[in-house]
Symmetry: C3
Subunit: 347 residues, 3 copies
Amino acid sequence: MAVSLGELAVRFGCELRGDPQTHVERVATLANADERSLAFLANPRYRPQLADTRAAAVVLDAASADACPTQALVCDNPYATYARIASVLHPATGAVPGVHPTAIVTPGAHLDPSAQVAALATIGAGAVVGARCFIGPHCHLDEGVVLAEDVRLVARVTLCRGVQLGARVVVHPGVVIGSDGFGFASERGAWLKVPQVGGVRVGADVEIGANTTIDRGAIEDTVLEEGVKLDNLIQIGHNVRIGAHSALAACVGISGSTTIGKRCMIGGAVGFAGHIAITDDVVITGFSMVSHSITKPGVYSGAIPLEAAGAWRRLVARFKRSGRLESRVKRLERAAGVKSGREEDHD
Amino acid sequence: MAVSLGELAVRFGCELRGDPQTHVERVATLANADERSLAFLANPRYRPQLADTRAAAVVLDAASADACPTQALVCDNPYATYARIASVLHPATGAVPGVHPTAIVTPGAHLDPSAQVAALATIGAGAVVGARCFIGPHCHLDEGVVLAEDVRLVARVTLCRGVQLGARVVVHPGVVIGSDGFGFASERGAWLKVPQVGGVRVGADVEIGANTTIDRGAIEDTVLEEGVKLDNLIQIGHNVRIGAHSALAACVGISGSTTIGKRCMIGGAVGFAGHIAITDDVVITGFSMVSHSITKPGVYSGAIPLEAAGAWRRLVARFKRSGRLESRVKRLERAAGVKSGREEDHD
Amino acid sequence: MAVSLGELAVRFGCELRGDPQTHVERVATLANADERSLAFLANPRYRPQLADTRAAAVVLDAASADACPTQALVCDNPYATYARIASVLHPATGAVPGVHPTAIVTPGAHLDPSAQVAALATIGAGAVVGARCFIGPHCHLDEGVVLAEDVRLVARVTLCRGVQLGARVVVHPGVVIGSDGFGFASERGAWLKVPQVGGVRVGADVEIGANTTIDRGAIEDTVLEEGVKLDNLIQIGHNVRIGAHSALAACVGISGSTTIGKRCMIGGAVGFAGHIAITDDVVITGFSMVSHSITKPGVYSGAIPLEAAGAWRRLVARFKRSGRLESRVKRLERAAGVKSGREEDHD
């Protein structure tokens, strides 16, 4: 879809430095854009590519605009503005009302007539599918699942009994929502299953990445508040609660009954112990292990970057004999008549 | 389903402190229970909620019973007793014999007439499905798969060629059992696939969480013994063997040919190297890396909890320059004429 | 399939020590082989099992041949030779041309007549399926997917819009290729979706393990070069590029826009930050966190093996108070009039 720079500037509140009649058809990277493409500059890492771009126009902020060799759409938040323009140039396909003849809709399910149900989707008794929902191929909605309007299940999504999704939720392939939580009672050396009778409630505007799993609550519900974004291959245990607008990168695991606050940002592969609480506005860098509650907003880390194998081996060996080093220092202190200086510890 | 406290006390061997004619209909948390609900107290963390509960009755042990403001079912193992009562109040749905008209059963498969095959399930040649099995929607059983009685494949489970599941095994959506192990031989700078000709044998009463993957053996079988419980998103490599009644939390990865003993408890995201052996009754806390065999029962750990980012950065910097600190101590020892004290190391 | 040792020796360039007329029917481990089985010895760990093997013949190298109590096929690379022989004794089933009556092929898709499409597979408009491809049950190929010849999608694979797979690619169940990358722009406290308009290109001879996810590019493509091998439950972020013949073990996660070189070997559960570059011929041992680019080939590590819980607790406590130990050493140096010895640091 070709759109003029003038229209984009007006629509998204940019200052246009260039010809309002220039049309762009697609987005591209600074490095590979051509005269029909629109590029953007948000991450300073890509600043060096600006000088040589052949884009029709670049979306960027005022600080970078003077260095732009082509036309520019200048705005305060170039990445967000780029996102909006990209949605115009590359619009998502909406639902085409109707039920594919091979889809299986159990009598007693309620489908809004504007919804689309694709090939081989199965919808259980009592399920409710809202206006303009898209139920992709191979999806399964078990009994009593409720979808608000404009939900998009891309393909092969499994929603277990009674799961509820809010408006505009997007779910990518392979996701499982509402599987049983991991609840077993120990009894005479074996495990006894604890029935998982809670549900899962997902707020509006949540997006859930491929092959992520979200367990149903043991008694009460597992909850994702509005605007939460989950990447791929994330595990959400039973009775977890994630606050509004928090974003979790891939491979994160959250143990049961842990709560994450609002507007948190969790890096990849972070692991959370169960039954802890993370307050609002916490950032956790990737690969950290969170074993205790966090009560103060801020940035937290817990991973040690790798080294060449030999150097790492020596580091680990020293770590393992750190007790001996403390003893040696203590003996030196004794010999020198120096106190151990606990009062100087500022960490 | 409403059940009287008297019946529950008799059936599950509890001491009832209250009216045997009181009926309960559902389970609930201590905090949110009402006069038709049964709650329980097992984790001391929730003890403070006991005083204010409005539950009809609480399942708890003798030590907590006096503090209970409502009726009580007193027993030695409240969590296990709660599990049994919850199964009565919220019974699992059993198989409804029959094959959905859209299921595809290849001629030559043997289905017990009491089994249920749901919509769009596919069952390959030579497969055997035992009495009262439930094959959920979108499941695929490849050729020669064998299920004992009362197996429950919730939905969208893939069992590859020849996989064998024992009685009462429960498998959650998205699980793949019997995919090829990761076997490749290096040859002139490229990888040559090593055929994976072993199978997978899963013992009775095993439960397997959503999107977990279990590879078939390279030559002999991958084995899960009876009563093993696997959480979501776990990876089991080829020729792994997991001993009876071991429980693994989510996101654990076990490399090929490693064996885990009986009654082990493995925390979330623990990783195991290949070709090692973990003895019986080992507990490993979450996020640990297991690179060597463990020969003694006990509790093992290997993760460092996160810190505020600045403090963590200083810790990592000190870790990386630990060699220098050792050198400094050595120089001090030399200057002071003190020995390095190797003999005082007790770790 | 029974094959004579003579034929195997000729076909795979082995020196046969034994009777060329002996026939073998299957592969087996050294420990469990019988007189109709062929075993191999490649990993020195299994050398002790050689003396007692009852295999008809063992594939091994010259250094081990004299210790072999049975017939031997002697070669330079026993594991690769074993792989080739196992492929003869246990041949993979090829595609049986035809489309299952329950498969759904959208008009406008192009299927080579020699391809096989299994039950309940769905193929979107404009998709192209090459010669002798096998599209397993429950697979979904979205619009515009292109498969070269001899691709094998084992079962329940989801290929999103426009994904391209090279010749002989093998994809195991549960894999998702081409799901949206994790791209969101922050705007006034919420997240705005950034359209993901790139694709995924997978080179020839790539194999992808169960439940692995590969995101489509944000603007340009995510790329796996030829011969790459991915194990199960791996996450590949948008715009990642993996060089030819690299092999990644299970549970690895690669953040967006990171590139991995050729012939790299990545251990299980390794995590990569985004926007970094790993050069060719890098080996990273399991459980490492890679936060910076690696520019020199070699072996890298970053994980600390676990300990008995008490010992580990003491190690962590000492790590956390490492600042205090540095202060104590500094005070000792001051008291002794010794310099801090920065110049002696050799790590």
